[in-house]
Symmetry: C2
Subunit: 248 residues, 2 copies
Amino acid sequence: MTFMRYKITIEYDGTNYYGWQKQDGLRTIAGTIETAIFNITGQETQVFGSGRTDTGVHAKGQVAHFDIEKQFEPYKLMMAINAHLVKDDISVINCEEVSEDFHARFSSKKRYYQYIILNRTPKEALDKNRVWRISQDLNIDQMQKAANYLLGNHDFSSFRSSQCTALSPVKTIDYINITKNGEYIYIDISAKSFLHHMVRNIVGTLVDVGLSKQEPSWVKEVLESKDRTKAGITAPAQGLYFVKVDYD
Amino acid sequence: MTFMRYKITIEYDGTNYYGWQKQDGLRTIAGTIETAIFNITGQETQVFGSGRTDTGVHAKGQVAHFDIEKQFEPYKLMMAINAHLVKDDISVINCEEVSEDFHARFSSKKRYYQYIILNRTPKEALDKNRVWRISQDLNIDQMQKAANYLLGNHDFSSFRSSQCTALSPVKTIDYINITKNGEYIYIDISAKSFLHHMVRNIVGTLVDVGLSKQEPSWVKEVLESKDRTKAGITAPAQGLYFVKVDYD
């Protein structure tokens, strides 16, 4: 049996979904896309994402692949899937045919996340479910100094969720860039791959520094302790965006 | 009877409201804020906005004023109103005491709007109800050329809704700046005041130029015709943001 493999890039608002991963009886991103594909092709298929996202986490450029027997013109397949997602907060923004050795997760070279903080006191209206609002002023210079201790190859056990199933806690962070635009603080972070909750745990820890509860050098101690209980809180899901995945 | 006048700045997502203006039995922005103030103070008050917005139009910085007999510390009043708006897509982002000759509408010196177009084919997920999505490529250089014919003092009858109640169709546009950032096109426009639907009618007309259906100079003809039927469509409400109002 021959099949075609398709790579899709997906934008979604994660608020109303139980995360990326398919779960029986729950509305998930991958499950919703699989249903759309089934309704178009009549074929059961599994949609493999480049990485899982939790409930409330958003994506501007999640990538996934799936196999179907019938050949489609990729643009038409994209439009057909979106037509089936018309009531969903999910959109396929790109679709291409790929060779059968492409794998959304294992072929990926780099992942990019962005975390958005709204640094103001009044509640958010236009940014509801889209940012972490923090009332107290954050010092982003101190946050950047703290973040720099995390760059490169380290054991990130201190920033790893207890439910993380990765074989190794060692990861390599390429950059963490913290910028401010008005009331918005953007934390951009890139690595080949991340541990479960790693970005949110890093953000929660950097915020402790931004609030002057801790010195930047404390983050180095946290990292070296390899002890999750030493780090800050897990930043809320709603501020996190899965931005992009690079492949060869 | 003495009273205090308060000026508030308001952010809202207009999707789920019947516009700014209070209407009996309908959920409106002004009506919702009046109810919140009543629940705090026990006083019926009227909230006067600097300008009305239609259903679906958003605001980053609408301004309004109201009078109440009881004196409040402005920050506490802001927080109290927001506490009563916790289920609403409305937030008071600033509150100050003003003198009784301040009027949100009549004291205003300049208004700023932004219109956001998402120039891509796949449907919007993160920007649902927040942009006008246009699939075909828009030429923003041509749109800017066209927009420049509208700068300054003119009779804007061609861009005026038939329901507009303004005494005169003559307005002065300070600037129209059209910029692109990735898939987003931003149309920033400022004037002392606008006619009803004026920004949306201008945007709909500029889009005809951006799509090369018309030459930039056509906009000059439309303007000079003083005939609403000559201009383009009224751009959808969901892409429009009331950004800011200036006072002395």
